[in-house]
Amino acid sequence: MSLVPAEFYWRILPELVLAGFGAVLMLIEGGGRAGNRGRLGAYVALLGSLLAFGAVFIQAANPGDAFQHMFRVDGFTVFFDFVIIGATVVVVLLSMDYLPTQHLERGEFYALLLFGTVGMTFMVGSVELIMIFISLEISSISTYVLAGYRRHAPRSTESSLKYFLLGSFATAFFLYGIALVYGATGTTQLYDVARASLTPIVGGGEADRVLLLAGALMFIGLGFKVSAAPFQVWTPDVYEGAPAPVTGFMSAGPKAAAFAIFLRIFYVALHSSGHAWFWMVYVAAILSMCLGNIAALLQTNIKRMLAYSSIAHAGYVLVAFAALGPEGISAVMFYLAAYVAMNIGAFAVVSHFAHREERYVDVKDYAGLGFRFPVPAFCLSLFLFSLIGVPLTGGFFGKLYVFRAALDAHLVGLTVIAVLNSALAAFYYLRVVVFLYMRQPAEEIAAPPMTGAFSLVMIACVAVVIWLGVFPNRVLEFASRSAAQMLR
């Protein structure tokens, strides 16, 4: 007789695989010969993340709760596991292209990446607040270190330190929120919280108020993680300073995971006080879109511009969030899937062109690249068009579903602001395209040849962006089903 049924392990198989390979990487890094350890680490990490991706299928075949109902495998978990682990695979490949040019390739980088992914996947599957908190910290600490990975570059160190300090600050709010939830309901399991909030243990309005305050505090913590205004201030500096592939990773994986728990906590546990936190989301959505887009207009550094644009995209996601229904959830999920693909793709091209010490990250450096490096430049244009939301790209349907969800919820004003914002955003994305194809280069920048790893990254991202733009159906159906499952 075993205390823990075997399915429980199947249900956390991706996490087990990732953690195992992370440990192996540490062993290689510690005990192996100096020299090509970094390259070896890269292959091990690639293998690990691919196996973990495969393991999600096994996970998906074993739906249900695990470990005292702290972890739950449902469509929602599986969807985000695919997105996050997929992003990790792409970032590993991208790092194989980027790190050697920067002379930074070491196994620990990949180990940190895998451990961070473990945290994120646990995050999206957890339905218990303490578990969520622990996995949030696992993922955050890895990301703090990765952001400072170019340790000889002051910008990178600065980025890491800022992220760490402010991140801890925000996490404190989140933790306090958890404590209040426990105080109000006597449990930290999300579905139990939902039930308990209907039959409070303390007298009537009191518990309601405490729960609402808890919601506000958790909103602050999570708002920071998804870089929603007014908690977005850290984003530009951190994104600019971190190594480009890490920036791509930060804007994708942790963000998707944070939105996932955002959804679970607010739609499930705090469902009963939806009318009150709705306005927080509403205002945060407007602020994020407007601040992000207006500030992005003024940037010339591409990494900074994409940082501000990611704030704006967090705003679009919050628009769907404010719809308060299953359509909202599925729109958020679809949008994030498309966003992860196009944003990592864009950062991939930026990191490819960045060169040693990230010299070429200004929009002026991109003048005339369209004809000198047709393939990466074409891909970059495609990702930018998708970020604008041009039809036949994933970004178009992402926006369409977000707007539709908001309209179905009768949020006409919010939708109009969102549409106006997306029109405004076209301007700064197109500026990059103009530089790529219609300006004479001032200086012929040197770009490394396309490596196999980089080509694979491009193929993967382009394929996903186009696939979501032409056949969005299956993904959306899956998302709708998962949304219904999650709310049950």
Binding site: E158, L161, L165, F173, L213, F231, V233, A295, L298, V419
Partner: protein
């Protein structure tokens, strides 16, 4: 049992051409790339003809749906195509005229770089345009709509090394975004109310609705929003400014996109939505007034342009105005009829202009062309001249030519159709006089011998108010001086020559169509063919204010007067034109400078926007808020070493206080509002 037409194949063929040339064109010789680029549109044209041959075997409208494209909950949008009389006509125009212009491009673009790229883009344009006209729902139409806009943007900027060309491309794109914004909101309204984008579903519900009389009914709002989109794409007031600039693109592009097909997409869309407009009298009146104003406004600018392509550009804007007049008068059939004849004669005019420019090695200024071709250009390029003459007669409404039938029909409908307005009819008639005048002026100046050849070859464009200007239109703008600078007198040595067969054959074919294309409209046959599409359930009594014959007589006399005036001022007595110019100097400068609309837009929109970004965004938001908080990233970059610690802590503190401030606001909100 009707046959499966596989309509999707028609756009798809053009897409294949695009893909082949884009992916493989680089490795091919110029000849192969060109023939591949022509082959696929030709195949699409043949396919379109086959579809026509099946016409009697299908029930109209013929709907073709493929696997659902988007199916989520209540929203189902298939990859749907629809064939009815309207899309049939549009499909034939796009593939037929498109094919001729592809063939023409083989000759015209032979001396330009990036041959394969050009054909790839041209095929891409055809793909999106066919998607637009064959779509069975608004969403697919919108994708075609955006796609043609994008194709136009890259083709205008084709000579991207020329700054003015890429600037013109940007202008076109941004102006169109403004229009598309209205269109998109209109689509949201449609979906919100009818829960579908399908034409059949939407119009079936619209037909149940009454005619709106109020100022703000749902259909009126939708109609006006859709029309905002149409003003962008079809270059109507106030969004017409991009089209003249778009002439920076290669001439075949101007012919295909900015004359024959893309710019008519707005007209097509309004006609397609006839059921909505028929029930929204206010929207109809706006369409009618905008069309008429644009027609006369653009025609008046066209009178004084010197650049042959600019004349044709303003003429296009003006003719599109006529088509909208027809729509506004509920005479959609007449509008489509004019759209078709316009595709013939305006395509021909542009191709003819291209042939002239080709012959003169790039010269576009009509007065310089006249000066550079001793004895008149007519002698060197006879085919071009005769076809250009036919097209000029057609656009001016000389009886017997195609344009006469369609324009006359529109004017008659505006005066005495279902939604008549005598005032706009008068405006349209005066615009017709101007049209005849400026087109014959262009013809005479370009092709006939000038009076004072020697003097004309040294225009004094640099001297703004030269009283003793040698040529009729010389001077008055710095813009003209720039034009001179852009075309150094190196061309003077050029020997005018007739174009190769690949260019003249399309000219001749289009010439035949422009001359005789109007006869299919005799006895309202064309409109009766289209009538089922525009049978929207609303029938208003007509108001015959005058007989068709008397309206025709007025139109004819107007056209002839225009012709005679042009002949008098530009052939018989040049001095008279000169005198007239000086006696009306103020008016002349106003019109010659295009009413300073571009400058006005610069003053009203561009500059305040720039000032806004400078003062508010930069000074206050950027310098005040962002820089203030960030506390000088730039200083940080300079003083990396020693100052690091101090700078750092300052930054983080201010960041943390931002987060803290946000937190305080959120918590306060919860405490105040949450307690209830």
């Amino acid at each position: 049992m009707h046959p499966n037409l596989h309509l999707w194949l028609i756009p798809f063929l053009c897409f294949l051409g695009f893909a082949c040339n884009l992916l493989l064109g680089r490795t091919w010789s110029q000849k192969t790339a060109g023939w591949v680029g022509v082959l696929f549109p030709a195949a699409a044209f043949v396919d379109a003809l086959w579809v026509v041959s099946q016409w009697s075997r299908i029930t109209v409208p013929y709907l073709e749906t493929h696997s659902p494209w988007i199916a989520a909950g209540p929203l189902t949008i298939p990859y749907g195509f629809q064939l009815d009389q309207l899309s049939l006509v549009m499909m034939l125009i796009v593939t037929g005229v498109g094919l001729l212009i592809h063939v023409y491009s083989l000759g015209y673009m032979a001396h330009e770089g990036g041959f394969y790229r050009f054909f790839a883009y041209l095929n891409m344009f055809m793909f999106f345009m066919l998607l637009l006209v064959l779509a069975g729902n608004y969403l697919l139409m919108f994708i075609g709509w955006e796609g043609v806009g994008f194709a136009s943007y890259v083709l205008i900027g084709f000579f991207f090394r020329k700054d003015s060309a890429s600037a013109a491309g940007m202008k076109a794109f941004i102006t169109n975004r403004i229009g598309d914004f209205g269109f998109l909101i209109g689509l949201f309204f449609i979906f919100d109310h009818f829960h579908s984008f399908d034409y059949t579903t939407v119009f079936a519900q619209v037909r149940q609705m009454p005619v709106e009389h109020a100022w703000s009914g749902l259909l009126t709002v939708i109609g006006l929003l859709l029309f905002v989109g149409a003003t962008g794409k079809s270059a109507q007031i106030p969004l017409y400014v991009w089209l003249p600039d778009a002439m920076e693109g290669p001439t075949p592009v101007s012919a295909l996109i900015h004359a024959a097909t893309m710019v008519t997409a707005g007209v097509y869309m309004v006609c397609r939505s006839a059921a909505i407009y028929d029930r929204a009298p206010l929207a109809l009146s706006v369409v009618l007034a905008t069309g008429a104003l644009t027609a006369i406004f653009a025609a008046s600018i066209g009178i004084l342009q010197r650049d042959i392509k600019k004349v044709l550009a303003y003429s296009t804007v003006s003719q599109l105005g006529y088509m909208f007049m027809a729509c506004g008068a509920m005479a959609y059939g007449a509008g489509i009829f004019h759209l078709m004849t316009h595709a013939f004669f305006k395509g021909l005019l542009f191709l003819g202009a291209g042939s002239v420019i080709h012959a003169m090695s790039g010269e576009q200024d009509m007065f310089r062309i006249q000066a550079l071709a001793p004895g008149g250009l007519r002698r060197y390029v006879p085919i071009t001249f005769w076809t250009f003459l036919i097209a000029t007669c057609a656009i001016s409404g000389i009886p017997g030519f195609s344009g006469f039938f369609s324009k006359d029909k529109i004017l008659y409908e505006v005066l005495s159709g279902q939604h008549p307005n005598a005032f706009w009819w008068a405006v349209g008639t005066i615009a017709a006089l101007m049209t005849s005048f400026y087109m014959f002026r262009a013809l005479f100046v370009t092709f006939l011998a000038g009076p004072e050849t020697a003097a004309l070859s040294h225009p004094t464009g640099q001297e703004p108010r030269a009283v003793e200007a040698h040529s009729v239109d010389a001077g008055f703008t710095a813009g003209h001086a720039e034009h001179q600078a852009a075309h150094p007198p190196a061309h003077e040595a050029a020997h005018p020559h007739e174009s190769p067969a690949s260019m003249t054959v399309p000219l001749i074919i289009l010439g035949i169509l422009a001359a005789f294309g109007g006869y299919i409209g005799l006895g309202d046959r064309f409109e009766n063919f289209l009538a089922p599409v525009f049978n929207t359930g609303v029938v208003l009594p007509t108001h015959p204010a005058a007989s068709e014959l008397s309206v025709s007589l007025i139109s004819i006399s107007v056209a002839v007067v225009g012709l005679l005036l042009a002949w008098f001022y530009y052939v018989k007595n040049r001095q008279a034109a000169e005198n007239l110019k000086h006696s009306l100097a103020g008016l002349y400068r106003l019109v010659f400078n295009k009413y300073w609309i571009d400058e006005l837009y610069g003053l009203v929109f561009t500059r305040p926007l720039a000032a806004f970004s400078r003062v508010v965004l930069w000074r206050i938001v950027d310098v005040g808020m962002i820089d203030g908080t960030v506390n000088g990233i730039a200083t940080f970059a300079r003083g990396v070493g020693s100052g690091l610690r101090r700078q750092e802590s300052g930054n983080i503190r201010s960041y943390a206080s931002w987060v803290g401030l946000g937190a305080v606001v959120v918590v306060l909100y919860v405490l105040v509002v949450g307690v209830r």
